[in-house]
């Protein structure tokens, strides 16, 4: 069950919201609604979805920044949610996060050296007289210079700041890194640099990535496997190449057709989705995607599709592909 490096089973995170000023009736935002996946050591899982799909919440819950409503996370077999404070702290050393906004993720009143030094001192990682060398080493690792140590975040460019964020995450020598849209706030030219840096680091330090993004072209570049999220659920999951060549779920197909091609002469048919993502408070009955799906059937409005295998390492939750498996479902009923 828990022999993989990171295993997430049926993870749920609901946020309570009050309806109206005086009502005591609470409704829930179903940010993450039963998500399961696993990542092997040294691999990268890309988690994609539009904003509001709950992908960022997955990352935050994994790190314990948000408390899960239910579900389990196993990190090398350890049940993360059952850990006491002290054990959790030592686990924190092993998983880290890189944030989306390089302008908001660094403390503006602290020098780069101060920031990295603090991380080292929280976990008593190096002796005091060796701290500066270790900081310099970390800066080298992410492609910065030691003389950047005494500078403040506002003296750096966006790409450099993101490198600082990466250095901070690496300071504790983690094994798993949750990259929460690490390049989506950067210029396209800088994006490639940061992605290459992340790949180099993965090779050098044997890192495992959960790579969260809304941009499929970025995910394609870096992932081994890709999971597509819609309204708090994973709707399709496959190996990176497989997913990009044979997308099954209509939502994935729509996402893929929205990826821009950097060639003005080539035209592509866009599979445009109508409407916005449905409110995660009042979920539609049946398939969550049915009100925007171009291939919607009657069944989709009544019955929620389950994730099912569609060949080698490719799963999707869509009734379009579950016709032939009806019998197996019926048997269970």
């Amino acid at each position: 069950m828990s022999d993989s490096f990171l295993q997430v089973t049926n993870l749920k995170k609901y946020f309570a919201v009050r309806e109206g000023l005086f009502s005591s009736v609470k409704s829930f935002v179903h940010a993450v609604d039963g998500v399961s996946f696993e990542i092997e050591k040294g691999k990268t899982l890309g988690l994609v979805g539009e904003s509001g799909s709950g992908k960022t919440t997955v990352g935050r819950v994994l790190l314990g920044l948000l408390e899960a409503t239910s579900g389990e996370v196993y990190f090398e077999g350890i049940k993360v949610f059952e850990l006491k404070r002290k054990a959790l702290r030592s686990l924190r050393k092993r998983m880290q996060i890189i944030f989306q906004d390089p302008y908001g993720s660094l403390n503006p009143r602290m020098t780069v050296g101060g920031m990295l030094g603090e991380v080292l001192s929280i976990h008593h990682l190096v002796r005091k007289n060796e701290r500066r060398e270790r900081i310099a080493e970390l800066l080298y690792l992410v492609g910065l210079q030691p003389e950047h140590m005494n500078r403040y975040p506002h003296e750096f460019s966006g790409g450099q700041r993101q490198r600082i964020g990466i250095a901070r995450a690496l300071a504790v020598e983690p094994e798993l890194i949750i990259a929460d849209e690490p390049v989506s706030a950067l210029d396209v030219s800088i994006q490639a640099q940061i992605l290459n840096l992340l790949q180099d680091l993965q090779e050098k330090l044997k890192l495992t990535y959960l790579f969260i993004a809304h941009d499929l072209s970025v995910v394609k570049h870096i992932s081994d496997e890709v999971a597509v999220m819609y309204l708090g659920k994973i709707v399709e999951r496959a190996g990176c190449r497989e997913l990009f060549s044979h997308p099954l779920h209509p939502y994935t197909q729509a996402l893929l057709s929205a990826v821009p091609i950097p060639d003005p002469r080539r035209r592509k048919e866009h599979l445009m989705l109508r409407g916005d993502i449905t409110s995660p408070i009042h979920l539609p009955r049946g398939c969550r995607f049915h009100n925007r799906c171009p291939q919607v059937m009657d069944r989709c409005k009544k019955e929620e599709p389950r994730l099912q295998k569609q060949g080698n390492n490719h799963t999707t939750a869509c009734h379009l592909y579950q016709g032939n498996q009806m019998q197996t479902t019926d048997k269970r009923l």
Binding site: I97, P108, M110, E147, N150, Y152, H154, E155
Partner: protein
Amino acid sequence: MTDDRKNQLGNLPTGQSLWRDACGRLRKDKISFFALLIILLYSGVAILSQFNLIAPDYQKTDFVQRYLPPSGQHLLGTDHMGRDVFQRVIHGSNISMKVGLVTSLIAIPLGILFGSLAGYYGGRIDELIVWFYSTVASIPELLLIITIAYVLKGRISAISAIYVAIGLSSWVGICRVMRGEFLKHKEREYIQAEKALGAGSFRIMFRHILPNVFHLVIINFSLRFPAAIKTEVILSYLGLGVEKQPSWGLMIADAQQELSRGVWWQFVGAILAMFFIILAFNIFGDALRDALDPKLRGEKI
């Protein structure tokens, strides 16, 4: 690593902190620099008069020389007991500056403490603290001060009672500001990063969030200070403040009866002394806000 590189790491160029940035900005502003000079002048005068180094004859009465108009000998004339008004104005600055400083030192740490706890922890703690400061804020300030001062009067000296009373009644403003800021900052990504790195709550609150909101504390201090001065003047005027020391409030109260006899100098002296320090604080406070609050500069942070 080689010694050579170790030495290199020892002397790296230093960066430009946001504080230094703000100081540079402040220095360029001539009016606020002048206001700061006035504040420093008042502080200097207050310290010197504390040790009786200037205007030593402020308590000397001379009933022959009552109500003398301003002259070379008595710059601001004399009062109903023949005391030199100018010397008393000077000594009045002592009590004013002390009230401003001591009450701020009581109110600001209280406000920071309650505000940061409420904003950072939220939930029950927040509800309790908000309820508490709402209750305090709903009592008219002067009444609250007078009540606290009366309760304390027998136990500690009158002036200490005033310090404590003003201090305990004026922490709500800074507390509200701090609560809001902590609420906002605890969701910021740099704080999320610290949490993910395993930093404890107190480290996050006081090493990460507080330095990022401290400019608001300084701005609040620059507003708190003149407000406390005014409050002390009002209290002394009402006869609830200091008794044996000269205070601008007491002088204004005394001057009330004198005004009808055409003796205006005591009144004008005390009012002008108060006017300049409060004006200086207001100008300096504004400049501080411009220099320290990045939102008003339209700069990314």
